[in-house]
């Protein structure tokens, strides 16, 4: 190898190294920006965490993250502020959420199977009507719902919050699963049919096992939306013993009198725990994809 060629290689290596350095600097810069952006997004949450450990009087007087005093008083006070310990309201929420999740999983998947695989009269019309029901704002339907549930004596029970879910009223999830089912190759159904399976067997043995990501999405989002739902729970549950977490949290506040901000932040933080856990354990089902599908 000539000197000139050798020099070329050295130069090229140097250039490549410099390029790599530049690339790694660029990556470092990107990460710094992302971390800063993430912290900015997290700030309100961090502020809530910090405020939940501050004495009530300091929350708005020292609005920074670091306070001159640290206390766990808010947690003790907030836990026992209402007539029942706060765990009571968490249990209420969990009952509603469990009912809603089970109801949605069972009913929406069944309805979606019907739309995706069965043939019946006016199928497209029904499907369109179902989709339109997504667009109705809650304020439009809550009054007729209230009248209905009030007449059958369901006010102050969890039934108004759960029974509709058992009837596949969450059109969004039906739509989600219809789209998912349509993506599952029909050949799988047909093979099962040749083996003598009917609709139930196809549904339970073929569709459901292949739809874990869609079911997980439904379960997780139903959990989050129901856990955070305030308005319908406020309307249907008026007895203080029936309050769920969001309704109970609002009773810490009183615009015309005294607000218990610190205890509210403390209890808010506690009520975030189930959401955090569901995300932590649920997300792997979300990403565990459709790779298991039989036919490519």
């Amino acid at each position: 190898m000539t000197d000139a060629a050798r020099a070329d290689i050295v130069l090229m290596n140097a250039a490549r190294a410099a390029g790599r350095r530049r690339a790694s600097w660029r990556r470092f810069g990107k990460h710094v920006l992302l971390v800063l952006g993430g912290l900015l997004m997290l700030y309100p949450l961090l502020w809530m965490v910090a405020s939940s450990f501050k004495p009530e009087a300091l929350i708005f007087r020292e609005p920074g993250l670091l306070a001159s005093e640290f206390t766990t008083e808010n947690y003790a006070f907030g836990w026992d502020f209402l007539r029942r310990p706060f765990s009571w309201y968490i249990t209420n929420s969990l009952i509603v959420v469990a009912g809603a999740v089970i109801g949605n999983l069972v009913s929406c998947s069944l309805a979606a199977y019907g739309f995706a695989r069965l043939n019946f009269k006016f199928k497209n019309l029904w499907f369109a009507i179902m989709l339109m029901s997504i667009m109705l704002p809650i304020h439009v339907i809550i009054v007729p719902q209230y009248i209905l549930f009030s007449n059958i004596g369901w006010i102050n029970t969890f039934l108004p919050l759960i029974a509709p879910k058992v009837l596949a009223t969450d059109a969004f999830f039906v739509f989600l699963m219809v789209q998912f089912f349509r993506g599952i190759p029909r050949e799988l159904d047909e093979a099962a049919r040749i083996d003598g399976a009917g609709h139930p067997r196809i549904f339970f043995r073929i569709m459901l096992p292949l739809s874990v990501p869609a079911l997980a999405t439904t379960a997780i989002f139903t959990f989050i939306w129901t856990w955070n739902d305030f308005f319908s729970q406020l309307i249907f549950l008026t007895h203080p013993d029936m309050y769920t977490v969001p309704v109970a949290l609002r009773t810490f506040l009183d615009a015309t009198g005294q607000n218990h901000w610190g205890p509210m932040f403390a209890m808010s933080l506690i009520s975030l725990a189930p959401l955090f856990l569901i995300f932590l354990f649920g997300q792997r089902f979300l990403v565990k994809g459709i790779a298991t599908t039989g036919i490519k």
């Binding site: 708005f60 009952i95 609002r250």
Partner: protein
């Protein structure tokens, strides 16, 4: 693949679905079934129990937090003990905003609570819609009125009927920091006119480092009571008895100009800080946290401010226009009413009477909602109060002696008028709008909100 001997038929398939649903429903029904005895009855919650002499469950509701709910639950239980019938009062409560949303829904379903607290801003709408029980037949009979006076009955009168009565009153007041004003060479007790107030604010501004002279009340878009006082002093009304707009562009312009001048002199709370303070409540307000020398507040807030403030704060009456009307005084009432759908109107009227007139109830609930509307109850609770509370009640009692012309009930759409005033005042505070533009915008928008009246 494992094989199962039982092939699910269409029927088992359906059963599985229905079964899962039923399980969820049972889970729901069993969960806290014991928690709310009788209250899940739907309808009026009383319907099936009435008449037969069996136990009666009646529903009550109030806005506020759990502290207040407990006080009133206990007071209602005290009333229940005086009854021959076996009555239980079930109380629901929520913060004001959600409370009003819940009321609106239950009113639409004709399922209002039997007895509940009502905002003076909403009684007009509910009264007109026929959702509330007309209390006229019970006045002077089950409900005593000699201690609350005719003005109190006027507070709940909509059209021909009396649909609500005040249990408590609040008022408007001036709070000032005694030491700061002393350091500024101002005698707080001598502030009687709006000009006095402006002068005191200019003198006190910056008397200590970072101290604002006067808190800016114009950006509050909730009730606009101070503006209402000013308008009444000027001989006008915010709303006419017929439900129209009763104020002129000149009056609202002079009000905005008064604050604009002070803002230009730099002695008011900066608008950003005002907005921030909205979320902090009374305990986080400028005057409670000792960041200003003077502030216009609801009189009842004095009781809430005293425990949290570090400085000595004094309570005074609102400033007046020197050549204004004498009979402008008004007291925003906390009203109580009954649903027209109640199955037990006489017990409902009895509870209303108890909460308005009974001294034992007054001694139990004290000043939680304001100063009791009944003069006898006010006198009865005075010995139980601390100094700050007594100052509040005495100020209300004193001001109630002044001549008062009727205070028109808020008509439907009144919230939009308040919002318009708040919005345009905020634009002035931020310098986005001139005073005259804001004044004409407020008048135009308010007229539009009230249907052009």
């Amino acid at each position: 693949m494992t094989t199962h001997l039982i092939t699910p038929s269409r029927r088992t398939f359906l059963t599985a679905g229905v079964g899962a649903g039923a399980m969820a429903a049972m889970l729901a029904a069993c969960g806290r079934g014991d928690a709310a005895p009788n209250s899940g009855g739907g309808g009026t919650g009383t319907g099936d129990d009435g008449g037969g002499g069996g136990p009666i469950t009646m529903r009550t509701a109030l806005w506020g937090n759990a502290d207040r709910a407990q006080l009133y639950e206990e007071a209602a239980a005290m009333f229940a003990e005086t009854l021959e019938e076996d009555v239980t009062f079930d109380m629901s409560f929520a913060e004001l905003g959600p409370y009003l949303e819940r009321l609106a829904t239950t009113a639409a379903a004709n399922d209002l609570p039997d007895v509940f607290f009502m905002r003076d801003t909403h009684v007009g709408w509910y009264g007109q819609s026929g959702s509330l029980l007309d209390l006229t037949p019970y006045l002077g009979d089950i409900i005593q009125t000699d201690q609350i006076g005719d003005a109190a009955i006027g507070d709940g009168t909509v059209g021909e009927g009396v649909y609500a009565l005040p249990t408590h009153y609040v008022g408007q007041a001036l709070f000032y920091d005694v030491e700061m004003l002393q350091e500024a060479g101002i005698d707080g007790t001598a502030i009687t006119t709006w000009d006095d107030l402006a002068e005191a604010a200019r003198a006190a501004h910056g008397v200590r480092e970072g101290i604002v002279g006067l808190d800016d009340p114009t950006m509050d878009n909730a009730t606009q009571r101070f503006l209402e006082a000013y308008i009444r002093q000027a001989g006008e009304e915010v709303f006419t008895p017929e439900g129209g707009i009763g104020f002129s562009e000149d009056t609202i312009g002079s009000w905005l100009e008064f604050w604009h001048q002070l803002r230009s002199d730099g002695v008011l709370t900066p608008p950003d800080v005002s907005l921030e303070n909205d979320a902090a409540g009374v305990a986080g307000s400028m005057i409670a946290t000792n960041r200003c020398a003077l502030a216009l507040m609801s009189t009842n807030h004095y009781v809430q401010v005293l425990p949290v403030t570090q400085n000595e704060l004094a309570l005074a009456s609102l400033p007046v226009l020197p050549d204004g009307t004498e009979d402008w005084w008004f007291f925003p009432p906390i009203l109580i009413c009954a649903g027209a759908n109640t199955q037990h109107p006489e017990i409902a009227a009895g509870l209303i009477n108890f909460l308005v007139n009974d001294t034992a109830a007054g001694e139990h609930t004290l000043l939680n909602q304001g100063a009791p509307s009944s003069a006898a109850v006010r006198d009865a609770i005075l010995p139980l109060l601390d100094d700050g509370q007594r100052a509040f009640v005495e100020q209300i009692s004193r001001e109630q002696e002044y001549p008062r012309r009727p205070f028109p009930v808020r008509p439907e759409g009144s919230e939009e008028v308040n919002a318009s005033i708040g919005r345009n005042s905020t634009a002035v505070a931020y310098g986005q709008m001139s005073v005259s533009d804001a004044a004409s915008a407020i008048v135009a928008e308010s007229k539009a909100a009230m249907g052009g009246a």
